[in-house]
Symmetry: C2
Subunit: 635 residues, 2 copies
């Protein structure tokens, strides 16, 4: 989202038209180099890319094999302080930094970004390609279908959902014998289990592979998943902000014979399959994770998986191209991987492990890979460390913590900031006292959180045109006093890479320091995050949450990492508590599991998994000129 | 679908594994030539294609401008007699014919096919790339996401749906003034209508363009679409066989404040946007059609359009790449356009106008474009003539009518043929009497239907290995006696293009005859189709249908062509009536409208717009080898 426009919050939609379109004009003024040229520049072989049009290409995973012996580059995570509801420009910092490292410091460098959901693009937020002179281009391609990964996830997710309801209906209306003869049919006298069925037999402890030799009891346990309709946890998804699908009843046609059931749609990026795409480290790993996804439990309390449904091979087929990261470029021609975009609430909000791994090999030992974590450091960064790094085995060298004078003033006690209302004067005029209070609360705390994990921090102050020099100086000084290795102002929005040279130098310098990375928790995971990261006194588990902990422990899921589903607008669970809240107990309402992705997610308060549309959605201004084929209104 | 496999109907799912996989092996044994080489061979300039990987490319519409002066090639429609539920191999005939024309007769030629829905691919039917030695390759790419067109349609369709429900909620909970200030916000004192809003003002007869100058009455009529929830005709879609979405209740979350509503999901290819993609002749035309789609009517009975919702520009943006046909190749390297795949029931079941137009220019005056119409000639061909040709202005030179001995025996009085049951002996042993009766009923009638439109017919008998020479000779003889210009056996499944040389020669010969193409109807359209095409005595309109006719006439839609939604398994409305049914009255249950696509569709009986999944869906056998990346089980 364009940053200057964030200053004008009067009416989001028209802001788009009048101001945000600056970003689109800048984007369009720059012709991207052909993606095959870019691929050649960064050392990809011709057979390692698959072009999608002229400006995007998928990169094949065989590259990892070819570069196996190549040492990794430096690994830089961009996180942020607790943001205002408007966002503080982490993506633009990533892009500006990579542009500065490449073009000005002449270091190989790569940006790794998440693919945006089309829901917000056509709803409230608009595009997500960065802004000003720190953008991914062409921004239209970035914000629309890209190379179809989210669509593939939607298709795979909804195939599982259709399989669940159809299976429950078939089991309810057929005898064991009828089910068995259909599931394992005889063809010309030959009757065999398929590989996916043999896997289920193994899980049931049945070693027999001759279908005619199963006992009636074994047949029954094989053919009956016996899913409890009240305990189906799998939801359908769409990549559209469709609030009317938040709670629905399905199965009301007469053909479904009364098997009605309440369920919901989530936004596609909240699908567990998206989390799996982001965490998988290869085709085999992805397929295994897809197979073990738990979609609900049986009436006897056993977890039922996608493999039990017989659908996991088909899911891998649907996801075979999505697993390859998409190569694009910044406005200044630096390489960008766009890959995966898991919801930062119920999932972990980070781009893919595979894109980071490929990029680290491509930049080589002296190069830099800059990757981004969603929301504030207490959420995105914590999950980056505890979930993504645990899955990938990669270790970050440095954290760039993005701050803005606006967000610091809010944490210092400034008035409420919200989308759709004009920004109060405090945010436009100089106010050193609010800035100072914000630095000594939220900024200091977020730096401390990064240090908990043993990683050095450079603070990047994303400068807006209303910031005064005194405010800028104060932030940089207080950040360093709070333990940051360095703190510098950035002007990438207005100047591109040139505006981030100081940041690039600070990052280069700090990354030569030793990093002593450590995972935060081993036991007592939820309490550890609540206390050490959020600053809570303790946690309070609801009876449902306690029961789930017992159930997950009993199922052997106790060792999985934790993915907290918490508001990003405060370090606490209360969005209105800014700065560094203290003296609170974190309530855990419920606990859920993404077994395929490989994490448990405690719900702290109520999280919506389906955004809505405002009265005047972004789509009003999105248009296509049929003659020039130019797109307007994406920003 | 592989044709030999059609002989073995015992158990569809295992049939896939054991027999259908032959098709996949044949497909995989042939490495496709790089798509840029194919593009060059057929005369495309480099800047006219956009590769999607190595084997598919989108072709830019600018080609139409470049070749404006080039005369069109010959235009061949492949249609079929009334099929069995197993299909009679029209796609394989198209591919075999093009392979024969290209490789053996050395004539430029092009196949134009529909993109298959992923619903059937993972459900009952399996893939749709042709079969044996008459396939589109790689068949995995053809059957999966392809270049994302169906996903784009799903996204666009569901954005409209989300916009409808959100708008109804916003109107119900806000005053005129509040709606107006949000829809036309003031930004820094500047308040303006967007172009899409000015279009709505025009339709309301308001010429004022200063937002502050509207009367309260004008404001009210501008801000309130006043959609009647009971009269919303727009449905959500997924490209998955998900029967539990056939009838659902939405809006049950507390955030929707009680605005619950019964609705349904259709399969994505049933979306009006798919029909529009297939009928549009350029970006401007598509955008106009998208804008005028009627999504429901207001409480006062006025139609409400996508443009009224402010979403039509965004729809054009979502569809900007989908409008470009996708270039692929046959097993023998002939060019294929895959583009659009509208449901052949409630839509017109033909591939795109644009693909045909591009192909006709590319093959040049002496070349051939072979395009396919879904279902039997009474449905797909009739809609090709009356709807697609009306939209495109193109005129067909010849119809190839596909018949099989199996379907002819069924029409001659043979026992029931259904998927999932073994094929009765009558269909495996020679039975000249059943064949003769089938020829003199359904085959003769379908030839006559083509002649109604003034187009010569060549009958292509798709030979199965159980067909005897006497049966083959009989069909060819009786087809010619029924008026066909020629009738020949085809062996493309086993032999590729070599097996269709005789057909190619017959087509070349027949297409040099004059074609006297004429549209069938002008007035009394529904009755005309029922009597002249289906052979009904008359039609019978339900009270709902009569009311709709009055309403559509009053709204000015009376001149639109008709798209009959009728079973494809009989010339009549009763699937069990084979041959040439007579003495029946066609009941019209209801009438609906696709105003954007530009047709009215009478419902003859009950049409399901959402298939289901069987007990053992195809997905059980679809798998991916994570090491070789080979896909198994697609066929």
């Amino acid at each position: 989202m364009c940053q200057t426009a964030l200053l004008y919050l009067g009416q989001v939609a028209v802001v788009n038209e009048n101001l945000f379109s600056t970003c689109q004009l800048i984007s369009r003024a720059q012709t991207p180099k052909p993606v095959d040229q870019l691929a050649q520049e960064i050392g990809l072989l011709q057979e390692e890319t698959e072009a999608y049009g002229r400006t995007k290409a998928k990169v094949r995973l065989s590259l990892l094999d070819r570069l196996r012996e190549q040492p990794d580059g430096k690994y830089v995570l961009v996180a942020g302080i607790t943001p205002t509801p408007l966002g503080e420009g982490k993506s633009t910092v990533v892009i500006g930094l990579v542009q500065a490292l490449s073009a000005h410091l002449k270091l190989n460098s790569f940006a790794c970004l998440r693919q945006p959901s089309q829901g917000p693009t056509f709803g409230v937020k608009g595009g997500a390609a960065g802004g000003g002179y720190a953008q991914v281009i062409p921004m239209e391609e970035f914000n629309l279908h890209l190379t179809g990964d989210i669509h593939a996830i939607t298709a795979a997710n909804n195939l599982v959902a259709a399989a669940i309801d159809a299976r429950m209906l078939h089991e309810a209306t057929q005898t064991d014998k009828a089910l068995y003869s259909r599931l394992v049919p005889s063809v010309n006298g030959d009757r065999r289990f398929s590989p996916i069925q043999i896997a289920r037999l193994r899980r049931l402890g049945i070693s027999e592979i001759d279908p005619s030799a199963l006992t009636p009891q074994e047949v029954s346990s094989f053919v009956r998943l016996d899913l409890d309709p009240a305990k189906v946890t799998w939801q359908r998804v769409v990549d559209t902000n469709d609030r009317f699908l938040r709670k629905i009843t399905v199965g009301q046609a007469s053909t479904e014979k009364g098997h009605v059931r309440e369920t919901q749609f989530d936004i596609a990026v909240a699908s567990e399959i998206m989390a799996i795409l982001a965490l998988a480290d290869g085709l085999g790993d992805m397929k295994t994770r897809l197979g073990r996804m738990v979609v609900g439990s049986s009436r006897s309390g056993q977890p039922v998986t996608a493999e039990d449904l017989g659908v996991s091979g088909a899911l891998a087929v649907l996801m075979k191209d999505a697993i390859k990261p998409t190569l694009m470029q910044t406005l200044e021609g630096s390489p960008v991987f766009v890959h995966a975009g898991p919801f930062a609430n119920i999932a972990h909000g980070n781009s893919s492990v595979l894109a980071d791994k490929l990029a680290l090999k491509l930049v080589g030992e002296d190069g830099f890979v800059v990757t981004e974590a969603g929301f504030g450091a207490d959420i995105g960064m914590e999950k980056f460390f505890n979930i993504k790094c645990r899955a990938s085995g990669l270790r970050p060298n440095i954290v760039v913590l993005v701050a803005t004078v606006r967000a610091l003033k809010m944490h210092g006690g400034g008035p409420n900031v919200s989308a759709g209302s004009p920004l109060p004067r405090e945010y436009i005029d100089e106010n050193l006292s609010l800035v100072a209070k914000g630095c000594s609360s939220n900024l200091r705390k977020q730096i401390q959180i990064a240090h908990l994990f043993g990683v050095p921090v450079v603070v990047a102050l994303n400068v807006f045109k209303t910031d005064t020099q005194a405010e800028i100086n104060l932030v940089c000084q207080m950040a360093k006093e709070s333990g940051a290795s360095d703190a510098v102002p950035c002007h990438h929005w207005a100047l591109g890479g040139r505006g981030s040279v100081e940041l690039a130098q600070a990052v280069k310098q700090a990354s030569s320091q030793p990093s002593h990375f450590q995972f935060l928790y081993s036991q007592e995971k939820i309490r550890m995050i609540a206390q050490k990261v959020y600053g809570a006194d303790d946690i309070e588990l609801s009876p449902e949450a306690k029961a789930k902990i017992d159930y997950y422990n009993q199922q052997g899921y106790g060792k999985l990492p934790i993915c907290m589903a918490k508001t990003h607008l405060s370090l606490s669970h209360l969005p209105e508590k800014k700065g560094t809240p203290t003296g609170f107990t974190l309530p855990i309402r419920d606990i859920r599991a993404s077994i395929g992705a490989g994490f448990i997610y405690p719900l702290v308060g109520t999280m919506s998994t389906m955004p809505g549309l405002p009265t005047r959605p972004c789509f009003y201004d999105i248009d296509l000129d049929p003659v020039t084929e130019e797109i307007t209104g994406l920003f």
